[in-house]
Amino acid sequence: MSGFPILSLMLAVPLVGAIACLFVGDKMSRFVALGATLATFVLGCILWANFDIGGAQWQFTERADLFGRFQWALGIDGMALMLIMLSVFLMPLCILASWDAIKSRVGLYMAMFLIMEVVMIGVFMAQDLLLFYIFFEAGLIPMYFIIGIWGGANRKYAAFKFFLYTLLGSVLMLIAMIVMIAEAGTTDIPTLLNYDFPAGMQTWLWLAFFASLAVKMPMWPVHTWLPDAHVQAPTAGSMILAGVLLKLGAYGFLRFMMPMFPDASAQLMWLVFGLSMVAVVYTSLVALVQSDMKKLIAYSSVAHMAIVTAGLFAFNQQGIEGALIIMLSHGVVSAALFFCVGVIYDRLHTREIDRYGGLAVNMPAYALFFMLFTMASIGLPGTSGFVGEFLSLLGIYEASSVVAFVCTTGIILGAAYMLYLYRRVVFGELTKDDVKAMPDLNAREWTIMVPLAAVALWMGVYPESFLAPMRGDVTTVVARLAPAKPAGDAHLAAGKPKPAAAQGETAHGSAHAGGAK
């Protein structure tokens, strides 16, 4: 596999597909888009299969001096690999989810989705600071169209808000990048990762990056664009927004802010913890009182992302690994939940929770899947949500027991709002005539639900598949942060495990992997 530009090919396939979609007409474009995304997914699987776990930090690197001032430099590490896999896995499902729901200007819609895919995986692959920025910002354009053209009643407002909000954050990051390039004299990300910026400068750079990434994340109090964007976006738009775009912020934290500005990260840890704590509790409470299903899930996303940020800033192996697993898990589960909303929205054309009720009677298969994803969102053991939340809370507890306490409250509230949602939609009396008339899942919806459910369970039962590629990268980040890391309030002291028990523990894998340190 060495030498073959598989990463460039992964970018080229959806790009060619996007151009083709514009010209082949509405009917064909669906198939072109599905074909292109499936081909990219296959390439992604090849990529994963050939990824050498424990090998070089950066693999599949490509470098071409195309742009003079900066390079076409691609390469992935384990974290990027997993996030790329998440993107290419969700993309064909998004295309399928919009198969019937999108009726007008299908060619343009499919083209925008494929461009979205190029941009998203480009962000994770970029090894050049400017190339990263270009991909990062380029995502605004297709999403603006997707929300604005195929969204709900208030779509124009939501599209503007999404665009301007995220743009305002990003431009500050650009200035920070210019300063970094001037200071370090290179745009190469692996070099910058090991460059020690002066402490005073770090704080400013950190704040500028934070302005951008906190909006993307989104963190409280700059999260307000998200509920609007989600509510107005078409189902597949919400799926990709929650599934992948929200991960860009956390990816930026982990890729740039923490290893590049370790001192500033340690110094401003309180800010991240503070905002995260507010977000977990506040957005969970807000989610509890929503009457719109999509808005509820959107607020739950903000809450989950807050646990991610807290986990990342715990500065230890468990916290960061847990945060990464929450990112992956949330990517699958929230996409699935938005799809669940989409399924019944397509039938009744409303997202009002009160309009439903008793779906368990006439849509049993749907109720089953919805239940599974609800549980995964709550973090029931056996589902993907549990692994991430447990690991990250473990890490957070080591850093600060207060933060861990508040974040756990959020998980309890999470169970409350999700179960309350589930009860109102699926259980209860089936009284409304139009709800009675709703048919259960069709073949296409089954095709989407099954892979999502399978991955959610796989991640819950055997998370080692996902943790193994990322472990080395997390260790690198933790080592980079170690000199700056403030003492936690946990005062961990190694116990004396019985030799036999220690033997048995390694077999359990993931949850203990970080605990060995």
Partner: protein, 477 residues
Amino acid sequence: MTADLALIWPELILTIGGLITLMLGTFLGDRQVGIYQLSALLTLAAAAAAVVALFGVETTVFSGTLSVDGFGGFAKLLIYAASFVCILIAPRFFSGGMRAEYPTLIVFAALGMGIMASARDLMTLYVGLELNSLAAYVLASFMRTDERSSEAGLKYFVLGALASGMLLYGISLLYGFTGTTDFAGIAAAMGGQLNIGLIFGIVFVLAGLGFKVSAVPFHMWTPDVYEGAPTPVTTFFASAPKVAAMALMTRVVIDAMGPALGAWQQIIIFLALASIILGAVGAIGQKNIKRLLAYSSINNVGFMLIGLAAGTQQGVEGVLTYLLVYVVTTLGAFLVVLQLRDADGNQIESIPALAGLSQRRPGLAAAMAVFMFSLAGIPPLFGFWPKYLVFEAAVNANLVPLAVAGIVASVIGAFYYIAIIKMMYFDDKSDTEIPAGGGAIVEDAVITASALWLSVIGYLFIPVLAVVSASAAAVLF
């Protein structure tokens, strides 16, 4: 003297070619559009070839009043190319009303602009500027039966005369206090202590030049003139003269006032920020697409001035790259506006009429979307790159607060660019019919080429652009 003549071939070609075009129009009559148009186009092409042939020459002619160098060459090529396009697209617009004066005036304006871009003396500066301005006043009122066009011409003339007055006053102050009109001599005199007279001179010269580049607060004429002038003329105003005025301003500021950095830098910074912010805010309420593009040009001039405010070679490189990308984008955007005609063949200028354009004319709407995103500086479109360069120059010149203020204000600008896209893509079709305009092969080709270049393809040209703009900017340092 004769040796000097060999070095000003581009100017000579334009003078002779312009006169020939004028004669052709006079003797053959206005109906022979093809002939005099061809003559003007050939003239511009030949002048451009002469510029290319002189590439690498770096000297001054006529006792140091005019320079022949890469910087002027870069600007001239851009000016000639923009003028070329503006002549090319005219006959379809005027449809029968085309007169030979149009290409002739543009050729003479291009001559004046070429002199502006290579002036090394306050007197040549003024001669070039006025030659360009006189042609421009006439061009603005070219459709003499149209009330708006006449008004635009008159307004432009009155305000232009005022600006010329300010400029002349500044020039006379500079001359009075330095004893020379030569840029190098002025620079030498500014090396020492600045007295109040010199500072006044700098302020008035920059005010006059600020009028020409339409920087805030000297921008008031721009929206009215852009709106009133016939669209091909507006296209011309928005492209070539911007290049000439910006090149002139750069040369004056760096070459003549270089040592007095502290005196002019704050003026340029003010002009830059005011232009960016007012250009963005002023555009928001506009209902006429030409007025909107006028504000957009003010906004873009602000970004170029950020590069100039840095006062470094990197900044000038940024300005030159910006000019190139800006000219391509503006030409493209105005060409799209030219294509918008209702069923009766009347020009459509109102923005609400653009509603739903993507469903009637998908190609045109897509091109316009590319131009708008590019003007807003959203990557991956190429409009991002020059913005990056000027901000980088500002940061490297320790003007981080300026860069931050500028880039935050650029988000305000993004609002109205994406509002146009919203109009074309999100809104339902308007009542105005916009039938497909057949036969506009030249226009379509130019639009397609510029849109493609401004999409990601432009990035592949960065290495070439970097070399060219660096060698052009190096002349001034």
